[in-house]
Amino acid sequence: MWRRRGTVLLFLSPWIVGFSVFFGYPLVMSAYLSFTSYDLLSSPRWIGLGNYRYLFREDPEIWTAVRNTLWLVAVLVPLQVLFAFGVATMLARAKQGAGFFRTVFYLPALVPPVAATLGFVYLLNPATGPVNTILDKLGIDGPLWFNDPTWSKPSLTLLGLWGIGNIMVIFLAAILDVPRHLTESAQLDGAGPLRRLRWVTLPTVSPVILFSVVIGVIAAMQYFTQAYVAAAVAAGQASQAGSVSTLELGYPEGSTMFYPILLYYNGFRFFQMGYASAMAMLMLGVAFALTLLILVNSRRWVHYQGAAR
């Protein structure tokens, strides 16, 4: 018994240390710092609920940030899942060149986000980018894309849709995994492709859909790189300033101010680390609640084959 326990502890030890040092400790510290004012130059100063009061009542940027992040959850994630599923369905039926097509759709997901964002911002430049140039030739007055507050998030969505390769491949495998006898018997019963999709494929694939939705929501809550780079580059393009002393958060007009970005600015540009910790605590609560919401709701539409959860 002792030998067994020793072995288990030994095997688990990296994770135990990792969990305490890189998860448990920071979590507790974050909670503590959220009640202080701390700029890293001097020691933390206890201010009780001061940060939370500012967060909920006075911060002009916070609710924009929350709304923008929720926009991602409500719009970007479903679109990504739908699009990935659609592409996977088409791929599943393809007979010739399936391997080639799969590569084409998967590859963009591997591209470093910074590179992809730079590419897209350049391509969608309102005055000189190829997209608007082509639209111009077709007689359409192209939108201002990353420089227009109503188009900036859709532009980021386009970027996000370009990179659905990972989810798409998972869907593809799941669709191909649907037991043939189910689809065949449905076909024999006279069900057309759409009905087969609705009553056979979708239910079988539902655990995978749940998985991608959860992953998507988690990613949407952490969404940082693309928005940060896109805003910086687009603002740089429109102002063309080398070292502007006033920065415009969430260019344009706060439309790309997502929660993780605001947290980063507060903590690592303005060095209000206590306030950033308070923001982090709020984020933790919301992340928890959202995931729980999805998982609880999933019982309604997810079917598991074989063993129950």
Binding site: P14, Y25, L40, M90, R93, A94, P112, V114, I170, A280
Partner: protein
């Protein structure tokens, strides 16, 4: 019936072809821009004239691309090595060793997966600052040596599929758990391990947030992702060169993909379908 089927197939394929074209278009335009002169890149031109292939070498003159690649490589390789060494035993403990509270603790592991990194980032930064390691690659590498929740999850799922008979046979032969792990399990789990390694390399090569936090003020240690984002402001946005640099940064990952296609796709499906 046959005719309808055929028309449907063509319709399907044409949609696929259209979608594929849309997916390839950005890369094509980036490539075209990378071959333009600076003035052409700044104008509304679509086609370079002449094809300035020298841009790809010019990029190395303007920015320390090799240095960035080296730093990215160091980060990726060390992080992946540590991740594998630490996550495999942990995953084994969660799947093939029986102990009280195992499933409950595994749930805790899953919970850490849901956590956005921004929640823990402030105290961790303070900790690394106090240890005087900000500006180096260590704050990025070291956490990977203590287990990674995603790797543990993936490996555990795979280990669960190993038939107990193999392990029992080894146990009967008098092997300790460590021996079993390093001989029997490792050999059987090669596809999963390969997939985990690939994911780790991919994730660390593309990582931007952590390098932004810890490496910003030390250009010597910039990794490719940071370097690329700063390239534009250092050199007054020569877009043709920026696009060339973008392609070069994409290259290693694409090459890796083609070399290890099967493992990639297997790994991705492992996460989704078995999860």
């Amino acid at each position: 019936m046959r005719r309808r089927r055929f028309l449907l197939a063509v319709a399907d394929h044409s949609l696929l072809i259209a979608a594929a074209a849309l997916f390839l278009a950005p890369v094509v335009f980036i490539l075209l821009t990378a071959l333009m002169t600076n003035e052409q890149a700044l104008s509304a031109r679509l086609w370079p004239d002449p094809f300035q292939w020298s841009n790809f070498t010019e990029v190395f003159h303007q920015a320390p691309l090799w240095r960035w690649a080296l730093n990215s490589f160091i980060y990726s390789s060390l992080a992946t090595l540590g991740l594998l060494l630490s996550s495999i035993p942990v995953a084994y403990a969660f799947s093939r060793l029986r102990w009280r509270g195992r499933d409950a603790v595994f749930l805790v592991v899953l919970v850490t997966l849901m956590l956005p990194p921004q929640v823990t980032v402030v105290p961790l930064y303070v900790m690394w600052a106090k240890l005087d390691l900000v500006g180096s690659l260590w704050p990025l590498i070291i956490p990977n040596w203590f287990g990674d929740a995603f790797a543990i999850f993936l490996l555990r799922q795979f280990f669960l599929t190993i038939p107990e008979e193999y392990l029992d046979a080894a146990r009967v032969d008098g092997c300790g758990e460590l021996r079993i792990l390093s001989t029997v399990v490792l050999r059987l789990a090669k596809p999963a391990i390969a997939a985990v390694a690939l994911f780790s390399v991919l994730y660390t090569w593309n990582d931007f947030f952590l390098p932004l936090l810890y490496l910003s003020d030390n250009p010597d240690n910039w990794v490719a992702s940071i370097g690329l984002s700063q390239f534009r402001s250092l050199h007054q946005v020569q877009w043709n060169l920026v696009m060339a640099a973008t392609l070069l940064v994409m290259l290693p990952v694409i090459v890796l993909f083609f070399l290890a296609q099967k493992a990639f796709v297997e790994g991705v499906t492992l996460t989704g379908v078995k999860g």
